[in-house]
């Protein structure tokens, strides 16, 4: 059995060698992608397009506007006294947030009366809007004098501390996610056409004449790609360490083990797609549709799983990157051992086994 599996693996390797462009792409793409998107993407909101409408025109009003600009988050796009220009500015997207300082603001402050600033913001992108509102509250809080009304107790001040990622760099948070996402897509592309190609070209018939069993065929076809994908994953991790300063706090051995499990599971998904589809066109569509969008959106890469409705949280268990991503963040950022992420590893193992079993059953029928 082992010999026949290896024979298929060697045949597949030879075929890969004949198409070195594909092999090189599968090997190099994850690194290139990580390099590009690791630099490009970030959740750190900056350069907020900002307008100031100062109807007060006092020293105090200029001070508060200045505080916004000096915070480094806001880029001044427009300045004036008339709030009516704001409509057009917001509609065209030239402005994302505007500070309106009402007349009488300076006088109120001088008399130590309570006063309010108006802050208008574009809420379309709710996440960015929430962040901007947080910045604005912080800035106003820092410039506002405090008064104590019939105070019994003093204020409560937080001393914030961030663990695992002290400067809250979104790169450190995003790189493991990108890694999982890119490896998933690469794996599915690698194997989604593997079986269906033989079917379409009619070489499946010749395989049928050999004493080959379905599972040997599938494992043999997957092995060379597992080798390639492991190389790609290693390269990507080196890039993450060297360029994005993502240190692996946990054990490298465990990291390798979990990564292998994930690669096997995602390559297995590609094989399953390949056995379900009758033509390469269908395999292509099915493979990309089932790997790209779901991994992007359901794995916790960008959208936190804990915020999803419960039914959907269940569905995320069908996405292998979900387990890998959780384990990856725990091993890389938190340095956690298997006692913390064993259930993710188990999830991957079960996923891989089920996918392989279904793929085998389907191949038995077509063999």
């Amino acid at each position: 059995m082992l010999r026949r599996t290896l024979a298929i693996a060697v045949k597949e390797l030879l075929q890969l060698r004949r198409d070195p462009r594909t092999a090189l792409t599968l090997l190099g793409m994850p690194m290139v992608m990580l390099l590009i998107y690791g630099y490009a993407l970030s959740f750190d909101v900056q350069h907020i397009r900002f307008a100031v409408v100062d109807q007060d025109g006092t020293r105090a009003s200029r001070d508060v506007a200045q505080a916004f600009l000096q915070s480094g988050y806001f880029d001044l796009v427009s300045q004036g006294r008339d709030p009516r220009v704001l409509d057009a500015l917001f509609d065209s997207g030239r402005v994302q947030a505007a500070l309106v300082i009402p007349s009488g603001y300076g006088a109120d402050l001088a008399a130590r009366r309570s006063t309010a600033l108006q802050f208008v913001l574009d809420g379309s992108d709710s996440q960015t809007a929430t962040t901007i509102l947080g910045y604005a509250r912080q800035i106003v809080g820092s410039v506002s004098p405090m008064i104590r009304k019939n105070a019994r107790d003093a204020a409560v001040a937080p001393v914030p501390l961030v663990w695992y990622n002290p400067d809250l760099s979104s790169a450190r948070f995003l790189v493991p996610g990108l890694l999982a996402f890119i490896l998933m897509v690469t794996s599915v592309i690698a194997t989604a056409l593997a079986v269906v190609r033989e079917k379409e070209r009619g070489t499946m018939e010749s395989l049928r004449a050999t004493p080959l069993v379905a599972i040997e065929l599938l494992i043999g076809k997957t092995l060379p790609y597992l080798l390639l994908a492991s190389g790609a994953a290693t390269g990507a991790l080196v890039i993450a360490r060297l360029l994005f300063d993502v240190h692996v706090r946990g054990s490298l051995v465990w990291l390798a083990a979990v990564t292998l499990l994930f690669l096997a599971a995602s390559l297995g998904w590609g094989v399953l797609v390949s056995t379900v589809a009758e033509t390469q066109q269908v395999a292509f569509q099915l493979g990309l549709l089932s790997s790209m969008l779901p991994t992007f959106i359901l794995s916790g890469f960008i959208f936190p799983i804990s915020s999803m409705p419960p039914a959907l949280q269940l569905i995320t268990h069908l996405v292998p990157a979900r387990y890998f991503l959780t384990a990856l963040r725990e091993i890389i950022l938190k340095g956690a051992g298997p006692e913390v992420w064993w259930n993710q590893a188990a999830g991957l193992l079960v996923y891989g086994a089920v996918v392989l079993a279904v793929a085998t059953a389907r191949t038995v029928r077509s063999l």
């Binding site: 792409t25 793409m29 992608m33 993407l41 970030s42 959740f43 900056q46 917001f90 402050l109 006063t115 309010a116 600033l117 802050f119 913001l121 574009d122 809420g123 379309s124 992108d125 709710s126 809007a129 509250r137 809080g141 506002s144 405090m146 008064i147 009304k149 105070a151 003093a154 409560v156 001040a157 937080p158 914030p160 961030v162 695992y164 002290p166 400067d167 760099s169 979104s170 897509v185 592309i189 056409l193 033509t279 390469q280 066109q281 269908v282 292509f284 569509q285 493979g287 990309l288 549709l289 969008l293 992007f296 959208f303 936190p304 804990s306 999803m308 959907l312 995320t316 963040r329 725990e330």
Partner: protein, 377 residues
């Protein structure tokens, strides 16, 4: 005489075009698995993704370590428990116990009230509490800290310390800050792109791989006719798809459509010109279907997902990548989608985006035609 001749030539050209059209549609029908992929998959995807794509963080998991154990410290803990922002998942006696909680994600934020908290505050000094946030999940961590700051400020105000200046926010277009209203139209754009682009790319590559391209070559078809005949069926498929998916956006997710439906449809056309053109372009670059798959995934779909502003705001990117985003058609279409849906604006505001899409679409198609002809010749 010459006029009639030209007329019949035009008639012949039209007839050939219709023939290719029918051939393509027949081919689509022959594969029974392609139809569910075309029409059911997008609806399922949009539904699932529409629910998943929420960045609203509800109730951050909080661990509490109260070392003060006084009435004041309990009042503060109560403020966290009763706020809509936190869910207390653990009460511990020492800070060392935070470690496993944060590691496993059972807590995202940990609050420590040090011994002497009440005494400090009665003495008129600010009472300090410590907050530990899980930075590994940078998003929940940051938002958790911001929520905690709000709760603590409310506590200070309740205790009598009031800031003189307050901030009165007005949120335009999406007053409840529902992230679904922003994400779902984006998913629509993404699905249109993926479906139409991949279909076109595969349709042409398949012909060359199966060798039927040679057969088409010996027919009196011009490359232009061949291209148009290949694109129109997929443009139709794309339009039908828009109509299958839109009801889900409007009636299931209840994303408000503030602008005109006609504007939306009209501006979808130049976008599809781009996606179909890209599909054709991919097919001229790829020799095998696997290459086509890799090319479309890595070179065309990934940038559209990541650099279009779909999930990662363009303004957060470094300048070089911001410049690159101008090459991504979805970037423009997203502005159109979100503008028409949420802001209710029309062509008066969106013409630069529409123009960009038309120019890009024509350029891509021209380029694809050039390469196509070279490959045929």
């Amino acid at each position: 005489m010459g006029n009639g001749d030209r007329g019949s030539r035009a008639g012949r050209a039209l007839r050939t075009l219709v023939n290719i059209l029918i051939k393509e549609l027949l081919q689509l029908r022959r594969d029974p698995k392609i139809l569910p992929i075309l029409f059911i998959a997008p609806v399922i995807q949009l539904t699932l993704l529409g629910y998943a794509a929420t960045t609203d963080i509800k109730r951050v998991e909080l661990a509490v370590c109260d070392l003060d154990r006084t009435a004041a410290s309990r009042r503060l803990v109560d403020r966290f428990t009763s706020s809509a922002y936190f869910r207390v998942t653990a009460n511990v006696d020492s800070q060392e116990q935070f470690d496993p909680l944060l590691q496993s994600g059972r807590a995202r934020v940990a609050l420590t009230i040090p011994a002497g908290f009440e005494a400090e505050r009665s003495a008129g000094r600010p009472g300090r509490v410590q907050l530990v946030a899980d930075g590994a999940d940078a998003m929940s961590g940051t938002i958790g800290l911001a929520y905690a700051a709000t709760v603590l400020q409310d506590a200070s105000v309740a205790a009598g310390t009031v800031p003189l200046v307050s901030l009165r926010p007005t949120v335009l277009y999406n007053p409840d800050l529902v992230s679904r209203n922003y994400m779902v139209p984006g998913i629509l754009g993404l699905i249109i792109m993926i479906m139409t682009m991949m279909l076109t790319a595969m349709a042409v590559v398949r012909e060359s791989e199966l060798g039927t391209m040679e057969q088409l070559l010996v027919t009196p078809l011009t490359p232009g006719q061949l291209i148009v005949g290949k694109l129109i069926p997929y443009a139709l498929v794309g339009l039908v798809e828009v109509f299958t998916v839109l009801p889900v956006v409007l009636f299931w997710f209840r994303v408000p459509l503030r602008g005109s439906f006609l504007t939306l449809l009209l501006l979808t056309l130049p976008y599809m010109l781009c996606t179909l053109g890209l599909g054709l372009f991919i097919s001229t670059l790829a020799q095998t279907q696997q290459q086509a798959m890799m090319l479309s995934a890595f070179v065309f779909i990934l940038p559209q997902m990541l650099l279009s502003g779909f999930a990662f705001p363009i303004q957060n990117m470094p300048a070089f990548f911001q410049a690159l985003t101008y090459l991504v058609p979805l970037r423009y279409y997203l502005v159109i989608l979100r503008g028409v849906f949420l802001k209710g604006v029309g062509l008066a505001v969106l013409w630069p985006q529409a123009l960009a899409l038309v120019v890009m679409g024509v350029a891509i198609l021209g380029l694809a035609r050039l390469r196509f002809r070279r490959r045929l010749g």
